[in-house]
């Protein structure tokens, strides 16, 4: 069973005023089949955690460990992490002009699966997954993220999640900027992946809204670059009612 273990993770980012520590000792274990919601105010370091797990070069790990089934994730390059089964659904995915969605998906699936998927089954797989996400078939011929609306970008991220079948899925504010319909469609996609029981999900969000569609097993409050409180789904209700004030008072965010 796949297990992602984050231990005492410290991460800095280089800014104009020199290096600044954002993550200050994160401890978290995510097992296959579990869903963890990470909730926190703006600037608490939630997205830094997501990007650090994926290996974005902007962030420097200054301490701690991240392992996937005992393998050192921090030693891996960005593409090696993805092939090892770590997936990051991005909040602001970039445009790649001239590269079609279908070409991108197939190149990516080939890399992650270690061999090119058989064309006939692949085309069917993509088509059916797109249908479930209520995406127009013409979408496949558009260039990656070029001219996509906010909702289209998020559906495209979840389409990749469903096709690449990672062991650990990190969803970085996938709910932000979505209307109710899009939120429902995207959440259903996440739930389909969760229902296989083969993915550990780290759901990073500012709002409790998405938790009405995706029920977490664990909820963690993130503030000042670390987890300050953990609990079950009921913790989200408390946050809904009381907000983040009690965590940010005098905090480092």
């Amino acid at each position: 069973m796949a297990t992602l273990e984050i231990h005492d993770l410290h991460v800095s980012v280089d800014g104009e005023g020199g290096s600044k520590e954002i993550l200050r000792g994160v401890d978290l274990t995510v097992k296959q089949g579990e869903t963890h919601a990470i909730m926190g105010p703006n600037g608490s370091g939630k997205s830094t955690l997501a990007y650090s797990l994926a290996g974005h070069p902007k962030y420097t790990v200054t301490g701690g460990t991240v392992t996937l089934d005992g393998e050192d994730v921090l030693e891996m390059s960005v593409d090696e992490r993805a092939r090892a089964g770590v997936f990051l659904a991005m909040q602001y995915p970039v445009e790649i002009p001239g590269v079609s969605v279908s070409n991108f998906l197939r190149t990516s699936a080939t890399a992650v699966r270690g061999e090119a998927p058989r064309l006939r089954t692949w085309v069917k797989e993509v088509k059916e997954t797109m249908e479930r996400l209520e995406m127009d078939p013409a979408f496949a011929e558009r260039n990656v993220n070029e001219g996509f609306s906010g909702g289209e970008k998020k559906r495209h991220e979840i389409l990749q999640l469903e096709l690449l079948k990672p062991r650990i899925a990190v969803l970085d504010e996938t709910d932000s900027g979505l209307d109710i319909d899009a939120l429902r469609i995207v959440s259903e996609g996440v739930n389909r992946v969760r229902s296989t029981g083969e993915v550990g999900t780290l759901l990073i969000t500012h709002y409790t809204r998405i938790l009405r569609y995706i029920t977490p097993d664990h909820v963690h409050v993130f503030a000042g670059g670390r987890i300050v409180e953990s609990g079950g789904a009921e913790l989200a209700d408390k946050l809904e009612a009381e907000g983040y004030e009690q965590y940010t008072k005098g905090g480092g965010s």
């Binding site: 070069p57 593409d79 991005m90 995915p93 790649i96 001239g98 990749q160």
Partner: protein
């Protein structure tokens, strides 16, 4: 919709005032450039091997082969032939030098209403040394033809290429500069576009030590359309310069210019000058020009200068865009975060960058060769 900003720029400096001499067929009408002149300031004169100062004597050779489909004729004529020099006058000293020095011109004629299924192919293979050339493509009314000019080998070459595009004709001209690393190539492409005719040019520059091209169009009547596309891959130490002029001389004509280049390696230098001139008579003009550059490594340099001069407000549209960007780390990260290795990710991005222009070529073997060439250049960068 005209862009006020561009007009303001044009008011200070015009295409005409920026040239050190007016166009002329006679090399003696141009002073020897020293490098400070507007039209020479980006060009390393010492690498022109004397093409600019009269010391380049035509002692070299090129092997020129023309493969013409049925119905297309190829003749050799003297400089007194009325078709020579009609589409455009040399605009700088090197083009005038080529015009003054060539011995015989090649005229390729496509009869009116002909539509050959195969392209006309012109192969210029440099065999070393200085050569001058002149080629005229005469395309009859309503003819539809694709012309591919391929430049390979080593040469110090200055030439003029003219296109007399008949009324209603449709011409696609693909010029591939795939020279050896030592070659020097200066060429002026002048097209005179007939009424309701379409002229599409795709310039593909990979090779050479120094390549300096002048793709230029003007219109003989209303309703003409020009599409000028270009792709270049400027490597280590190469100087590749494309200087375009669209001269809107007639009413209701359209033009679209799109040049894209990738650069890598130390001292790679690409220059793009895009001049568009809308004359007072050219009401109803619709024009757009774009230049994009993708800088893959440190040490490369791009000079990109779009310029729009408008002498009438009665136009449909006029605009330009120029952008030079570094290879985007965020794109690389996104692709790698989906398991795609760095090398392949880089290839995807560069291929994607050029994709829309590659599709414009429309000649499968040239497209395939271009893609193969791109892959080879990128592989070199990674190694």
């Amino acid at each position: 919709m005209a862009e006020a900003q561009s007009i303001a720029v044009a008011a200070e400096s015009t295409v005409a005032t920026r040239m050190s001499a007016p166009p002329s067929y006679d090399v003696a009408d141009f002073p020897v450039p020293h490098g400070r002149e507007e039209e020479w300031r980006f060009t390393p004169l010492e690498r022109l091997k004397g093409l600019h100062n009269g010391t380049a004597v035509a002692t070299g050779s090129v092997k020129v082969e023309v493969s013409a489909p049925d119905g297309v004729t190829v003749t050799t004529v003297g400089r007194d032939d009325p078709r020579v020099g009609r589409a455009g006058t040399p605009v700088d000293r090197v083009a005038a030098q080529a015009f003054s020095a060539f011995e015989k011109a090649t005229v390729v004629s496509v009869p009116a209403e002909a539509a050959p299924a195969e392209p006309v192919r012109l192969s210029v293979q440099g065999e070393g040394g200085v050569t001058y050339g002149h080629t005229v493509f005469e395309i009859g009314a309503f003819a539809e033809v694709v012309i591919v000019a391929d430049h390979t080998g080593d040469a110090v070459r200055a030439a003029n290429v003219e296109f007399l595009v008949g009324d209603g004709a449709k011409v696609t001209f693909v010029s591939v500069q795939d020279w050896d690393d030592t070659a020097v190539h200066c060429s002026q492409h002048s097209a005179l576009i007939g009424r309701d005719a379409t002229f599409k040019s795709v310039v593909v520059t990979f090779g050479g030590d120094l390549v300096r091209l002048h793709p230029r169009v003007s219109y003989a009547g209303p309703g003409g359309e020009a599409e000028l596309y270009g792709l270049y891959f400027t490597d280590n130490g190469q100087h590749q310069e494309h200087r375009l002029l669209v001269d809107h001389t007639a009413a209701n004509c359209r033009s679209n210019v799109a040049y894209k280049g990738a650069l890598q390696g130390a001292d790679a230098h690409a220059v793009w000058i895009g001049d568009v001139l809308i004359r007072a008579a050219a009401t109803g003009t619709d024009t757009y020009e774009l230049n994009r550059n993708l800088v893959l490594t440190d040490g490369a340099r791009v000079d990109s200068v779009p310029n729009l001069e408008i002498e009438t407000g009665e136009i449909v549209g006029a605009g330009h865009a120029s952008a030079t960007g570094r290879f985007e780390d965020e794109q690389l990260f996104y692709l790698m975060a989906r398991g795609i290795p760095a090398e392949e990710a880089r290839r995807l991005v560069v291929r994607g960058f050029f994709a829309e222009l590659v599709q414009q070529i429309g000649v499968p073997d040239v497209e395939e060769r271009l893609i193969a060439k791109l892959e080879a250049e990128l592989a070199e960068a990674i190694a």
